[in-house]
Protein backbone atom coordinates (compact mmCIF):
# COMPACT_ATOMS: atom_id res chain seq x y z
CA UNK A 1 0.00 0.00 0.00
CA UNK A 2 1.24 3.48 -0.83
CA UNK A 3 0.70 4.93 2.61
CA UNK A 4 0.78 8.69 2.94
CA UNK A 5 0.42 8.53 6.71
CA UNK A 6 1.73 5.77 8.93
CA UNK A 7 0.55 5.87 12.50
CA UNK A 8 2.71 3.95 14.96
CA UNK A 9 1.85 3.31 18.60
CA UNK A 10 -0.23 6.42 18.93
CA UNK A 11 -1.50 7.17 22.43
CA UNK A 12 -3.38 10.28 23.48
CA UNK A 13 -4.76 11.76 26.67
CA UNK A 14 -7.34 14.36 27.64
CA UNK A 15 -5.61 15.51 30.78
CA UNK A 16 -5.41 12.43 32.97
CA UNK A 17 -7.79 10.37 30.89
CA UNK A 18 -6.29 8.20 28.18
CA UNK A 19 -8.40 8.11 25.04
CA UNK A 20 -6.21 6.42 22.43
CA UNK A 21 -4.36 3.17 23.00
CA UNK A 22 -1.53 2.05 20.73
CA UNK A 23 -3.07 2.89 17.39
CA UNK A 24 -1.23 1.44 14.41
CA UNK A 25 -2.62 2.28 11.01
CA UNK A 26 -1.59 3.15 7.46
CA UNK A 27 -3.62 5.63 5.48
CA UNK A 28 -3.50 4.90 1.73
CA UNK A 29 -2.76 7.77 -0.62
CA UNK A 30 -5.49 9.07 -2.95
CA UNK A 31 -8.17 6.98 -1.30
CA UNK A 32 -10.96 7.68 1.12
CA UNK A 33 -10.46 6.09 4.52
CA UNK A 34 -13.42 6.17 6.88
CA UNK A 35 -13.20 5.85 10.64
CA UNK A 36 -16.32 4.50 12.30
CA UNK A 37 -17.19 3.60 15.83
CA UNK A 38 -19.61 4.44 18.66
CA UNK A 39 -19.54 7.83 20.38
CA UNK A 40 -16.53 8.32 22.57
CA UNK A 41 -14.42 5.71 20.86
CA UNK A 42 -11.71 8.25 20.07
CA UNK A 43 -12.14 8.64 16.35
CA UNK A 44 -12.29 12.43 16.45
CA UNK A 45 -9.32 12.54 18.80
CA UNK A 46 -7.43 10.33 16.37
CA UNK A 47 -8.21 12.64 13.49
CA UNK A 48 -7.06 15.65 15.46
CA UNK A 49 -3.81 13.89 16.25
CA UNK A 50 -3.06 13.67 12.55
CA UNK A 51 -2.78 17.44 12.20
CA UNK A 52 -1.48 18.03 15.70
CA UNK A 53 -4.60 19.87 16.73
CA UNK A 54 -5.27 17.68 19.74
CA UNK A 55 -2.21 18.83 21.65
CA UNK A 56 -3.43 22.43 21.64
CA UNK A 57 -6.09 21.63 24.21
CA UNK A 58 -5.16 22.40 27.78
CA UNK A 59 -3.61 19.41 29.46
CA UNK A 60 -3.76 17.19 26.37
CA UNK A 61 -0.90 14.82 25.61
CA UNK A 62 0.17 12.74 22.65
CA UNK A 63 2.75 9.95 22.48
CA UNK A 64 3.81 7.92 19.50
CA UNK A 65 4.74 8.61 15.90
CA UNK A 66 2.90 9.64 12.81
CA UNK A 67 5.04 9.35 9.71
CA UNK A 68 3.97 11.62 6.90
CA UNK A 69 5.23 10.69 3.47
CA UNK A 70 4.37 13.89 1.71
CA UNK A 71 5.77 15.88 -1.18
CA UNK A 72 7.40 18.57 0.95
CA UNK A 73 7.79 16.70 4.18
CA UNK A 74 8.90 13.20 4.98
CA UNK A 75 9.19 12.12 8.56
CA UNK A 76 7.55 11.95 11.93
CA UNK A 77 5.27 14.90 12.45
CA UNK A 78 5.70 14.55 16.20
CA UNK A 79 9.46 14.96 16.06
CA UNK A 80 10.28 17.72 18.58
CA UNK A 81 12.14 19.68 15.92
CA UNK A 82 9.08 19.87 13.71
CA UNK A 83 6.93 22.99 13.72
CA UNK A 84 3.31 21.94 14.16
CA UNK A 85 2.07 24.98 12.25
CA UNK A 86 3.98 23.80 9.18
CA UNK A 87 2.42 20.34 9.41
CA UNK A 88 -1.07 21.80 9.47
CA UNK A 89 -0.42 23.40 6.11
CA UNK A 90 -0.04 19.98 4.56
CA UNK A 91 -3.42 18.97 5.91
CA UNK A 92 -6.80 20.54 5.45
CA UNK A 93 -9.53 20.05 8.01
CA UNK A 94 -13.28 20.31 7.75
CA UNK A 95 -15.32 20.28 10.91
CA UNK A 96 -18.66 18.89 11.92
CA UNK A 97 -20.40 22.23 12.13
CA UNK A 98 -19.54 24.41 9.14
CA UNK A 99 -17.34 27.25 10.40
CA UNK A 100 -16.60 29.75 7.64
CA UNK A 101 -15.21 33.03 8.91
CA UNK A 102 -18.31 35.24 9.15
CA UNK A 103 -16.31 38.45 9.23
CA UNK A 104 -14.73 37.63 5.87
CA UNK A 105 -16.40 37.48 2.50
CA UNK A 106 -16.86 34.21 0.65
CA UNK A 107 -13.90 35.12 -1.52
CA UNK A 108 -11.67 36.04 1.40
CA UNK A 109 -12.57 32.88 3.24
CA UNK A 110 -10.93 30.88 0.50
CA UNK A 111 -8.13 33.37 -0.05
CA UNK A 112 -6.97 33.55 3.54
CA UNK A 113 -5.35 30.14 3.44
CA UNK A 114 -3.32 31.26 0.45
CA UNK A 115 -2.15 34.41 2.14
CA UNK A 116 -0.89 32.42 5.09
CA UNK A 117 1.11 30.30 2.72
CA UNK A 118 2.80 33.35 1.31
CA UNK A 119 1.01 33.70 -2.00
CA UNK A 120 0.77 37.43 -2.66
CA UNK A 121 0.16 37.80 -6.35
CA UNK A 122 -3.44 38.98 -6.71
CA UNK A 123 -3.99 37.33 -10.05
CA UNK A 124 -2.72 34.01 -8.79
CA UNK A 125 -4.88 34.25 -5.69
CA UNK A 126 -7.92 34.99 -7.81
CA UNK A 127 -7.21 32.04 -10.06
CA UNK A 128 -6.78 29.65 -7.16
CA UNK A 129 -9.85 30.91 -5.31
CA UNK A 130 -12.07 30.46 -8.35
CA UNK A 131 -10.58 27.07 -9.01
CA UNK A 132 -11.15 25.90 -5.45
CA UNK A 133 -14.75 27.08 -5.47
CA UNK A 134 -15.24 25.24 -8.74
CA UNK A 135 -13.71 22.05 -7.40
CA UNK A 136 -15.97 22.28 -4.37
CA UNK A 137 -19.03 22.43 -6.64
CA UNK A 138 -19.79 25.86 -5.20
CA UNK A 139 -18.73 28.39 -7.81
CA UNK A 140 -21.96 28.38 -9.79
CA UNK A 141 -24.00 29.02 -6.70
CA UNK A 142 -21.93 31.87 -5.29
CA UNK A 143 -20.37 33.57 -8.27
CA UNK A 144 -22.63 36.59 -7.78
CA UNK A 145 -22.21 36.79 -4.04
CA UNK A 146 -18.49 36.39 -3.55
CA UNK A 147 -18.36 39.62 -1.58
CA UNK A 148 -21.03 38.57 0.86
CA UNK A 149 -20.19 37.30 4.31
CA UNK A 150 -19.17 33.70 4.54
CA UNK A 151 -22.00 33.14 6.94
CA UNK A 152 -24.69 34.28 4.53
CA UNK A 153 -24.79 30.92 2.75
CA UNK A 154 -26.96 27.94 3.54
CA UNK A 155 -25.61 25.12 5.69
CA UNK A 156 -24.64 22.89 2.81
CA UNK A 157 -23.05 25.78 0.95
CA UNK A 158 -21.13 26.83 4.05
CA UNK A 159 -19.69 23.37 4.37
CA UNK A 160 -18.65 23.35 0.73
CA UNK A 161 -17.08 26.74 1.34
CA UNK A 162 -15.11 25.20 4.20
CA UNK A 163 -14.02 22.47 1.85
CA UNK A 164 -12.97 25.03 -0.76
CA UNK A 165 -11.08 26.88 1.95
CA UNK A 166 -9.35 23.70 3.02
CA UNK A 167 -8.28 22.60 -0.46
CA UNK A 168 -7.22 26.04 -1.71
CA UNK A 169 -3.63 25.81 -0.57
CA UNK A 170 -3.27 22.27 -1.88
CA UNK A 171 -2.88 20.18 1.23
CA UNK A 172 -2.08 16.56 0.61
CA UNK A 173 -4.50 15.18 3.15
CA UNK A 174 -8.08 16.24 3.87
CA UNK A 175 -9.25 15.48 7.38
CA UNK A 176 -13.01 15.51 7.77
CA UNK A 177 -14.75 15.29 11.11
CA UNK A 178 -18.34 14.18 10.47
CA UNK A 179 -18.65 16.80 7.73
CA UNK A 180 -22.25 16.07 6.85
CA UNK A 181 -23.82 15.25 10.19
CA UNK A 182 -25.26 18.77 10.50
CA UNK A 183 -26.66 18.81 6.97
CA UNK A 184 -29.83 17.63 5.28
CA UNK A 185 -29.76 14.55 3.02
CA UNK A 186 -29.51 16.46 -0.24
CA UNK A 187 -26.62 18.61 0.94
CA UNK A 188 -25.05 15.45 2.32
CA UNK A 189 -25.21 13.61 -0.96
CA UNK A 190 -23.75 16.60 -2.82
CA UNK A 191 -20.79 16.60 -0.50
CA UNK A 192 -20.37 12.85 -0.75
CA UNK A 193 -20.20 13.10 -4.52
CA UNK A 194 -17.70 15.91 -4.10
CA UNK A 195 -15.48 13.81 -1.87
CA UNK A 196 -15.43 10.92 -4.30
CA UNK A 197 -14.38 13.37 -6.98
CA UNK A 198 -11.73 14.98 -4.75
CA UNK A 199 -9.96 11.75 -3.93
CA UNK A 200 -8.31 11.93 -7.32
CA UNK A 201 -6.21 14.78 -5.97
CA UNK A 202 -6.28 14.42 -2.20
CA UNK A 203 -6.08 11.69 0.38
CA UNK A 204 -9.23 11.86 2.47
CA UNK A 205 -9.72 10.65 6.02
CA UNK A 206 -13.30 10.96 7.16
CA UNK A 207 -14.68 10.34 10.61
CA UNK A 208 -18.34 9.42 10.48
CA UNK A 209 -20.89 8.02 12.84
CA UNK A 210 -23.04 7.14 9.85
CA UNK A 211 -22.00 3.66 8.76
CA UNK A 212 -23.93 3.85 5.55
CA UNK A 213 -21.91 6.90 4.60
CA UNK A 214 -18.70 4.98 5.17
CA UNK A 215 -20.15 2.13 3.14
CA UNK A 216 -21.04 4.50 0.32
CA UNK A 217 -17.89 6.47 -0.15
CA UNK A 218 -14.94 4.91 1.63
CA UNK A 219 -12.37 2.69 -0.03
CA UNK A 220 -11.03 1.57 3.34
CA UNK A 221 -12.79 1.56 6.68
CA UNK A 222 -11.35 1.48 10.19
CA UNK A 223 -13.45 0.52 13.17
CA UNK A 224 -12.49 1.94 16.54
CA UNK A 225 -13.84 1.08 19.95
CA UNK A 226 -12.91 2.49 23.36
CA UNK A 227 -9.76 4.08 22.02
CA UNK A 228 -8.43 1.03 20.21
CA UNK A 229 -8.31 0.18 16.55
CA UNK A 230 -10.34 -2.99 16.20
CA UNK A 231 -10.32 -3.64 12.49
CA UNK A 232 -9.11 -2.02 9.29
CA UNK A 233 -10.01 -3.39 5.88
CA UNK A 234 -11.26 -2.48 2.41
CA UNK A 235 -14.82 -1.34 2.83
CA UNK A 236 -16.57 -4.18 0.99
CA UNK A 237 -14.69 -6.70 3.08
CA UNK A 238 -15.43 -5.02 6.38
CA UNK A 239 -19.11 -4.66 5.67
CA UNK A 240 -19.67 -8.07 4.12
CA UNK A 241 -17.36 -10.31 6.12
CA UNK A 242 -15.84 -8.53 9.12
CA UNK A 243 -13.10 -10.54 10.78
CA UNK A 244 -13.55 -9.28 14.32
CA UNK A 245 -16.63 -10.16 16.26
CA UNK A 246 -16.83 -6.68 17.82
CA UNK A 247 -16.92 -5.18 14.36
CA UNK A 248 -19.68 -7.56 13.33
CA UNK A 249 -21.73 -6.71 16.38
CA UNK A 250 -21.30 -2.99 15.93
CA UNK A 251 -22.14 -2.78 12.25
CA UNK A 252 -25.17 -5.05 12.54
CA UNK A 253 -26.45 -2.86 15.33
CA UNK A 254 -26.20 -5.35 18.11
CA UNK A 255 -24.62 -2.65 20.25
CA UNK A 256 -23.57 0.99 20.05
Amino acid sequence: MDAILSVRNLNAWYGEKQVLYDINLDIPRYHITAIIGPSGCGKTTFLRCLNRLHELGQGNKVKGEVYFNGKNFKGNIYDPKVDATEIRRYMGMVFQKPNPFPMLSVYDNVAIGLKINGIKDKKKINEIVMNSLKKAYLLDEVKDSLHKSGASLSGGQQQRLCIARAIAYNPEVLLMDEPTSALDPIATSKIEQLLVELKKEFTIVIVTHNMQQAARIADYTAFMYLGKLIEFAPTEELFETPKNELTERYITGKFG
Binding site: Q212, A215, F239, E240, T247, E248, T252, G253, K254
Partner: protein, 210 residues
Protein backbone atom coordinates in the same frame (compact mmCIF):
# COMPACT_ATOMS: atom_id res chain seq x y z
CA UNK B 1 -34.40 -6.68 19.42
CA UNK B 2 -33.25 -4.76 16.41
CA UNK B 3 -35.72 -3.45 13.87
CA UNK B 4 -34.49 -5.87 11.27
CA UNK B 5 -34.87 -8.93 13.51
CA UNK B 6 -38.61 -9.19 12.96
CA UNK B 7 -38.08 -9.18 9.22
CA UNK B 8 -35.35 -11.78 9.49
CA UNK B 9 -37.63 -14.04 11.50
CA UNK B 10 -40.33 -13.75 8.87
CA UNK B 11 -37.78 -14.65 6.25
CA UNK B 12 -36.61 -17.69 8.22
CA UNK B 13 -40.10 -19.01 8.77
CA UNK B 14 -40.85 -18.73 5.05
CA UNK B 15 -37.67 -20.68 4.26
CA UNK B 16 -38.59 -23.38 6.76
CA UNK B 17 -42.06 -23.68 5.27
CA UNK B 18 -40.46 -24.09 1.87
CA UNK B 19 -38.02 -26.63 3.29
CA UNK B 20 -40.77 -28.82 4.72
CA UNK B 21 -42.96 -28.51 1.67
CA UNK B 22 -40.23 -29.23 -0.86
CA UNK B 23 -38.96 -32.19 1.10
CA UNK B 24 -42.44 -33.63 1.20
CA UNK B 25 -42.95 -32.98 -2.50
CA UNK B 26 -39.78 -34.83 -3.53
CA UNK B 27 -40.77 -37.71 -1.30
CA UNK B 28 -44.21 -37.82 -2.93
CA UNK B 29 -42.75 -37.84 -6.41
CA UNK B 30 -40.40 -40.72 -5.70
CA UNK B 31 -43.17 -42.68 -3.99
CA UNK B 32 -45.49 -42.08 -6.92
CA UNK B 33 -42.93 -43.38 -9.32
CA UNK B 34 -42.03 -46.45 -7.30
CA UNK B 35 -45.64 -47.45 -6.48
CA UNK B 36 -47.32 -46.06 -9.54
CA UNK B 37 -49.53 -43.72 -7.50
CA UNK B 38 -51.43 -40.84 -9.07
CA UNK B 39 -50.21 -37.82 -7.15
CA UNK B 40 -49.90 -35.40 -10.05
CA UNK B 41 -52.31 -32.81 -8.79
CA UNK B 42 -50.89 -32.66 -5.29
CA UNK B 43 -47.35 -32.37 -6.57
CA UNK B 44 -48.34 -29.75 -9.09
CA UNK B 45 -50.09 -27.78 -6.38
CA UNK B 46 -47.08 -27.98 -4.07
CA UNK B 47 -44.76 -26.92 -6.83
CA UNK B 48 -46.88 -23.85 -7.48
CA UNK B 49 -46.93 -23.02 -3.78
CA UNK B 50 -43.16 -23.27 -3.70
CA UNK B 51 -42.87 -20.87 -6.63
CA UNK B 52 -45.11 -18.38 -4.85
CA UNK B 53 -43.14 -18.73 -1.64
CA UNK B 54 -39.92 -18.16 -3.54
CA UNK B 55 -41.29 -14.88 -4.89
CA UNK B 56 -42.35 -13.87 -1.41
CA UNK B 57 -38.89 -14.60 -0.06
CA UNK B 58 -37.35 -12.56 -2.85
CA UNK B 59 -39.62 -9.60 -2.21
CA UNK B 60 -39.14 -9.72 1.54
CA UNK B 61 -35.36 -9.89 1.10
CA UNK B 62 -35.33 -6.84 -1.16
CA UNK B 63 -37.59 -4.97 1.24
CA UNK B 64 -35.26 -5.71 4.14
CA UNK B 65 -32.27 -4.54 2.14
CA UNK B 66 -33.95 -1.33 1.06
CA UNK B 67 -35.25 -0.45 4.47
CA UNK B 68 -32.53 -1.55 6.84
CA UNK B 69 -29.29 -1.50 4.79
CA UNK B 70 -28.10 -4.70 6.44
CA UNK B 71 -24.43 -5.56 6.58
CA UNK B 72 -22.16 -8.46 7.49
CA UNK B 73 -23.94 -11.56 8.78
CA UNK B 74 -27.40 -10.07 8.24
CA UNK B 75 -26.60 -9.28 4.63
CA UNK B 76 -25.08 -12.67 3.99
CA UNK B 77 -28.10 -14.33 5.57
CA UNK B 78 -30.57 -12.44 3.41
CA UNK B 79 -28.59 -13.14 0.25
CA UNK B 80 -28.36 -16.82 1.11
CA UNK B 81 -32.07 -17.02 1.85
CA UNK B 82 -32.78 -15.83 -1.66
CA UNK B 83 -30.49 -18.52 -3.08
CA UNK B 84 -31.86 -21.22 -0.79
CA UNK B 85 -35.45 -20.32 -1.64
CA UNK B 86 -34.59 -20.76 -5.28
CA UNK B 87 -33.12 -24.16 -4.46
CA UNK B 88 -36.28 -25.29 -2.67
CA UNK B 89 -38.46 -24.10 -5.51
CA UNK B 90 -36.28 -26.15 -7.83
CA UNK B 91 -37.02 -29.24 -5.72
CA UNK B 92 -40.68 -28.69 -6.39
CA UNK B 93 -40.04 -28.27 -10.08
CA UNK B 94 -37.98 -31.43 -10.39
CA UNK B 95 -40.55 -33.36 -8.37
CA UNK B 96 -43.09 -32.20 -10.87
CA UNK B 97 -40.79 -33.26 -13.71
CA UNK B 98 -40.52 -36.73 -12.19
CA UNK B 99 -44.31 -36.93 -12.13
CA UNK B 100 -44.32 -35.97 -15.79
CA UNK B 101 -42.10 -38.94 -16.56
CA UNK B 102 -44.66 -41.17 -14.94
CA UNK B 103 -47.42 -39.56 -17.01
CA UNK B 104 -45.54 -40.11 -20.21
CA UNK B 105 -44.23 -43.60 -19.64
CA UNK B 106 -47.16 -45.10 -17.77
CA UNK B 107 -46.79 -47.96 -15.32
CA UNK B 108 -43.16 -48.50 -14.43
CA UNK B 109 -43.56 -50.59 -11.29
CA UNK B 110 -42.04 -53.61 -13.01
CA UNK B 111 -38.68 -51.92 -13.69
CA UNK B 112 -35.55 -52.49 -11.68
CA UNK B 113 -35.59 -49.70 -9.13
CA UNK B 114 -32.45 -50.53 -7.14
CA UNK B 115 -30.36 -47.63 -8.41
CA UNK B 116 -33.30 -45.30 -8.16
CA UNK B 117 -34.09 -46.31 -4.61
CA UNK B 118 -30.47 -45.86 -3.58
CA UNK B 119 -30.28 -42.47 -5.26
CA UNK B 120 -33.56 -41.27 -3.83
CA UNK B 121 -32.63 -42.36 -0.32
CA UNK B 122 -29.38 -40.46 -0.55
CA UNK B 123 -31.21 -37.46 -1.93
CA UNK B 124 -33.77 -37.56 0.90
CA UNK B 125 -30.95 -37.70 3.40
CA UNK B 126 -29.21 -34.81 1.70
CA UNK B 127 -32.35 -32.70 1.81
CA UNK B 128 -32.85 -33.45 5.50
CA UNK B 129 -29.24 -32.70 6.34
CA UNK B 130 -29.16 -29.44 4.39
CA UNK B 131 -32.33 -28.24 6.11
CA UNK B 132 -30.88 -29.16 9.49
CA UNK B 133 -27.61 -27.44 8.63
CA UNK B 134 -29.49 -24.26 7.76
CA UNK B 135 -31.70 -24.23 10.84
CA UNK B 136 -28.93 -25.08 13.29
CA UNK B 137 -26.13 -23.29 11.46
CA UNK B 138 -24.26 -26.60 11.56
CA UNK B 139 -21.13 -26.58 9.40
CA UNK B 140 -20.47 -30.30 9.87
CA UNK B 141 -23.83 -31.33 8.49
CA UNK B 142 -23.26 -28.96 5.59
CA UNK B 143 -19.98 -30.68 4.78
CA UNK B 144 -21.63 -34.10 4.88
CA UNK B 145 -24.18 -32.99 2.31
CA UNK B 146 -21.45 -31.98 -0.10
CA UNK B 147 -19.79 -35.34 0.21
CA UNK B 148 -23.08 -37.15 -0.46
CA UNK B 149 -23.53 -35.17 -3.66
CA UNK B 150 -20.65 -37.18 -5.12
CA UNK B 151 -22.48 -40.41 -4.35
CA UNK B 152 -25.53 -39.38 -6.35
CA UNK B 153 -23.34 -38.17 -9.19
CA UNK B 154 -21.66 -41.57 -9.23
CA UNK B 155 -24.96 -43.46 -9.42
CA UNK B 156 -26.07 -41.32 -12.36
CA UNK B 157 -22.81 -41.62 -14.21
CA UNK B 158 -22.57 -45.36 -13.65
CA UNK B 159 -26.12 -45.75 -14.95
CA UNK B 160 -25.18 -43.86 -18.11
CA UNK B 161 -22.04 -45.98 -18.47
CA UNK B 162 -24.03 -49.20 -18.13
CA UNK B 163 -26.48 -48.00 -20.80
CA UNK B 164 -23.66 -47.42 -23.22
CA UNK B 165 -22.01 -50.77 -22.43
CA UNK B 166 -25.07 -53.00 -22.72
CA UNK B 167 -28.11 -52.30 -24.80
CA UNK B 168 -31.08 -52.06 -22.42
CA UNK B 169 -33.76 -54.69 -22.55
CA UNK B 170 -36.72 -52.48 -21.65
CA UNK B 171 -36.49 -49.10 -23.34
CA UNK B 172 -39.23 -47.55 -21.18
CA UNK B 173 -37.48 -48.49 -17.97
CA UNK B 174 -34.09 -47.38 -19.21
CA UNK B 175 -35.17 -43.97 -20.50
CA UNK B 176 -37.43 -43.19 -17.58
CA UNK B 177 -34.74 -44.25 -15.14
CA UNK B 178 -32.23 -42.01 -16.91
CA UNK B 179 -34.54 -39.05 -16.76
CA UNK B 180 -35.44 -39.55 -13.13
CA UNK B 181 -31.84 -40.12 -12.08
CA UNK B 182 -30.99 -36.91 -13.87
CA UNK B 183 -33.65 -35.04 -11.92
CA UNK B 184 -32.49 -36.63 -8.69
CA UNK B 185 -28.94 -35.58 -9.49
CA UNK B 186 -30.08 -32.00 -10.01
CA UNK B 187 -31.97 -32.10 -6.73
CA UNK B 188 -28.81 -33.34 -5.06
CA UNK B 189 -26.84 -30.50 -6.62
CA UNK B 190 -29.25 -27.94 -5.28
CA UNK B 191 -29.16 -29.54 -1.87
CA UNK B 192 -25.40 -29.11 -1.87
CA UNK B 193 -25.79 -25.47 -2.96
CA UNK B 194 -28.00 -24.98 0.06
CA UNK B 195 -25.27 -26.47 2.21
CA UNK B 196 -22.74 -24.13 0.60
CA UNK B 197 -25.00 -21.20 1.43
CA UNK B 198 -24.83 -22.22 5.09
CA UNK B 199 -21.04 -21.99 4.93
CA UNK B 200 -21.35 -18.53 3.38
CA UNK B 201 -23.76 -17.35 6.07
CA UNK B 202 -21.52 -18.48 8.90
CA UNK B 203 -18.06 -17.80 7.57
CA UNK B 204 -18.49 -15.57 4.53
CA UNK B 205 -16.53 -18.05 2.46
CA UNK B 206 -17.49 -19.54 -0.86
CA UNK B 207 -16.41 -22.90 -2.14
CA UNK B 208 -14.91 -22.63 -5.60
CA UNK B 209 -17.25 -24.12 -8.18
CA UNK B 210 -16.11 -27.56 -9.29
Amino acid sequence: MRLIDEGLQKLTSKIIRMAILSRETVELAVRAYLNNEKLTEKIFHNSETLRILQDEVSELAVELIARYQPVASDLRYIKSCMEIAYGFSRFGRYAYDIMQVLEVFGDLSKCDHTKLIKASETVHKMIDLSIEAFINKDLNKAEEVEKMDDEVDDIYESHLASLIKEKPTNLNCAVSATLILRYLERIADHASYIAEAVLYIIKGERRPRK
